[in-house]
Assembly symmetry: C2
Homo-oligomer: 166 residues x 2
């Protein structure tokens, strides 16, 4: 069931909603070239099947007073599965940690964090992160400026790829 293949229209829908998640269904239908009812059915199906996992407004963190963004590379003492997931759970409970990814290589995790200012972050860093159980090392890097931030799927690449197969 959760492996049903998508057709061109489905991919167009995903691309459009990734670009503008609040587009009305009639506008969406117009763009992908079908009428509103089947378009809405497709969207619902894509949601149910997990191709669409949710919709979010992009809120400007800086405007809201979160001036600081930091990447933290974390090394653990033990990489036993129980210890890995223990650390992941701790990350889930830290609101300043927005992303947590397990990596291969020297570093075990990379975290993307936000904070109102450097002081707040330093306090989080020393009182929470570095002093957390099983944490061996933490290296942090301040984000000086963001040049690109487009989470999601590069649909143009996907299309090229499918064109190849045909």
């Amino acid at each position: 069931m959760p492996g049903t293949k998508l057709d061109d229209i489905d991919r167009m829908i995903l691309a459009e909603l990734q670009a503008d998640g609040r587009m009305t269904n009639v506008e969406l239908a117009k763009r992908v070239g079908i009428s509103a009812p089947p378009c809405l059915r497709r969207v619902r199906t894509l949601e149910e099947q997990g191709f669409i996992q949710g919709y979010h407004a992009d809120v400007d963190a800086r405007e809201l007073g979160f001036e600081v963004q930091v990447f933290a590379m974390v090394g653990l003492v033990s990489q036993a599965e129980a210890d890995l997931s223990a650390f992941e759970n701790r990350c889930l409970s830290w609101p300043l940690v927005r992303e947590c990814h397990m990596l291969n290589g020297e570093v075990d995790f990379i975290l993307k964090c936000v904070a109102p200012d450097l002081r707040s972050f330093q306090r989080f860093l020393t009182e929470q992160l570095t002093s957390a159980e099983n944490v061996a090392s933490v290296k942090t890097s301040l984000v000086i400026r963001g040049a690109k931030d487009e989470p999601g799927v590069p649909f143009d690449v996907l299309e090229e790829r499918l064109a190849m197969e045909a």
Copy 2:
């Protein structure tokens, strides 16, 4: 003008739309405790003022065939402003690069990349990224698994913060 302060209702709106960007305006109005028309006006204002920068569907990259996610740390030869922005522009043109942040410290940039498979990524890495002008070093780390991915603002932290001031 773009510094107008937000009140509690505005922040609630932002929090709700960050959590569910497709919520209807009437539902939103109900949740924040005002009627629909003023609620819609507030949303529009928040959009115009840039507090809301857009809306996006969360599309599952894996389901669409992008199995690989990689962080790349890039060091440049020259950090002159012209060279920095030249590199940023190149990142903008690479669809596999979804995020590009300039950092302090030893590394100049961190990139978040996606690719259909390792082979595709290796090719991008060798043919594009490492061979790009002014690039001195690239270290990559494969994402083994994701533990947390909640882009946006931690509104719970923001509330605590505002409660302090009062």
